[in-house]
């Protein structure tokens, strides 16, 4: 299983899609143009601070609200390796998987986590932080296949023998 270590940004409960990608920037043509404004209603400075490989750890109901797919797309474009939350809103969950963004549910980590600390994730197995292991539930194989391929469209291409 894939294993990686990353620096963590901590967020609270109910981080909604309008926080992740505010409506006023949805008119931009590319996700690249939207990137600087990710999370801006809550933390305007955050998008510039996020480095590829960083991890978001949040409370419950991450991604609640709108069906805008730009929300998970911009999180992935910022280089966020995965989002770990107590729970995810369902449309966001599907949209994230469909864009190859790894989501992990864990009930306890957010309460223990200190921003800026590093954690190590072994996909479908555990999170290691501060000398403690946090177990995680396995994602079904078909979802792992989609994430590994980089999203649903790419996974379908691969399945149909149509390489990019």
């Amino acid at each position: 299983m894939e294993k990686f270590t990353g620096r963590v940004w901590v967020m609270g409960d109910d981080i909604d899609t309008d926080i992740i990608m505010p409506t006023e920037y949805l008119v931009f043509k590319t996700i690249g143009e939207m990137k600087p404004y990710a999370f801006s209603p809550l933390r305007p400075e955050l998008a510039a601070q996020i480095q590829p490989g960083d991890i978001i750890v949040a409370g419950k109901n991450f991604g609640c609200g709108s069906s805008r797919e730009q929300a998970p797309e911009v999180v992935k474009a910022l280089g966020i390796k995965c989002v770990i939350a107590k729970s995810f809103a369902r449309i966001f969950f599907r949209n994230a998987i469909n864009n190859g963004l790894l989501l992990i549910e864990n009930a306890d980590l957010a309460d223990d986590m200190k921003e800026g600390d590093e954690i190590t994730v072994t996909v479908n197995e555990k999170i290691e932080y501060n000398g403690k292991d946090y177990p995680i539930v396995s994602l079904p194989d078909n979802l792992v296949e989609i994430i590994d391929a980089g999203g649903l469209v790419k996974a379908m291409r691969k399945r149909n023998g149509l390489e990019d």
Binding site: D14, D16, D18, I19, P22, T23, E24, L26, V27, F28, K29, S40, P41, L42, P44, K60, N61, C64, G65, S66, S67, R68, E69, Q70, P72, S87, A89, R90, I91, R94, N95, N98, N99, G151, L152, V153, M156, R157, L162
Partner: protein, 416 residues
Amino acid sequence: MGMTIAEKIIARAAKMESVKANDICTVELDYLMSNDGTTHITVDKYNSLKHPRIADVSKLVWIIDHNLPCDSVKTAASHKKMRDFARANGIKFYEGEGVCHQVMMENHVRPGQLIFGADSHTCAYGALGAFGTGVGNTDYLYAMVTGTSWVLVPETLRFNLHGQLPEGVYARDLILTIIGQISASGATYKAMEFGGEGLKTLDMAARMSICNLCVEAGAKTALMEVDEITMDYLKEHGREPAAVFAPDEDAVYSEVYDIDLSSIKPIVAKPHFVDNVCDAKDAAGIHIDEAFLGSCNNGRIEDLRVGAEIIKGRKVNPGVRFLVVPASRAVYEQAMKEGLMEIFMEAGAIVMNPNCSVCWGSCQGVIGEGETLISTGTRNFKGRAGHRESFVYLASAATVTASAIMGEIATADMIK
């Protein structure tokens, strides 16, 4: 084992005898609705496919409603992309006819159907006994190309409604009360099913308002039992049900709630969460800069009647912009026939064409730094209606109109 309404609709769409919560099913969709919020992206993704095809074009309904009339060159380009694609491919297309969910309810949705919409408030279709659920544009694209998708069969929360709402209390107050009770994640990945004798006291407008907001509790869909009121609405609009499903007596619910409608009071949801509710009276006196009566939640003729009755012979407070936005052309025309638009215009309201308006915070009526909006829209997230340092309160048509008159949050009885 008995089935809930959600299970019966998925079983039909999956061509299976029965399904149960947490099964994963491949389903055929009855309609695929998409609006100008994201369709231009779907078109780009479609055009990037190696073998693009539309499984069944008769199931596609595309609606421009979010930024209408369009407000910038960038928006015009995305609208043009959507419009051109719809025309070239023979997709059913609406522009200027109303907010997508209202247009779908007036023209397409039938009981028993399973419908994907590239918009989170697609759960509104449950008012007509259809399973509507919001998806992103990749899920939409997959369904557009294959005609199918996969769904996890949701567990169901059952709401038995009893009694009747008191005078001056509306469906909006009821659903905000329920969301406050179960929280913004209380129905995540679940269906919310409504029935009971109290349902018979709620007209179609009230039912749409309730189902529409269920996604704000995280629900995958909302469903109401089909009755004479549903059948009358369908008949008026010239449609028949696809299938009428009632829940089995031994259907399995993850939770059952009994709601006494007579106990509901006027409610507001305070910034910045829909479940952050309080009695409207406890928010009374909070200064407002703008009031919005409209949206897929409360822009129907019934809502405009409520507002017009309150504001008739009165004036909008000079410190307030009061936006009145009918949810569809049909609603607009009816309001004109009844003289409601005259009442709003004479009172000093800004009456606009049917669209999503400030409810989605990008089109008209956006609010500035430090400003406060009271709204019948769907959400009050931070920055939802404009500047990130602005404030949105959600309330019924009555409370919004009363507040527009007073210049501060007020319930209708406070201005009598």
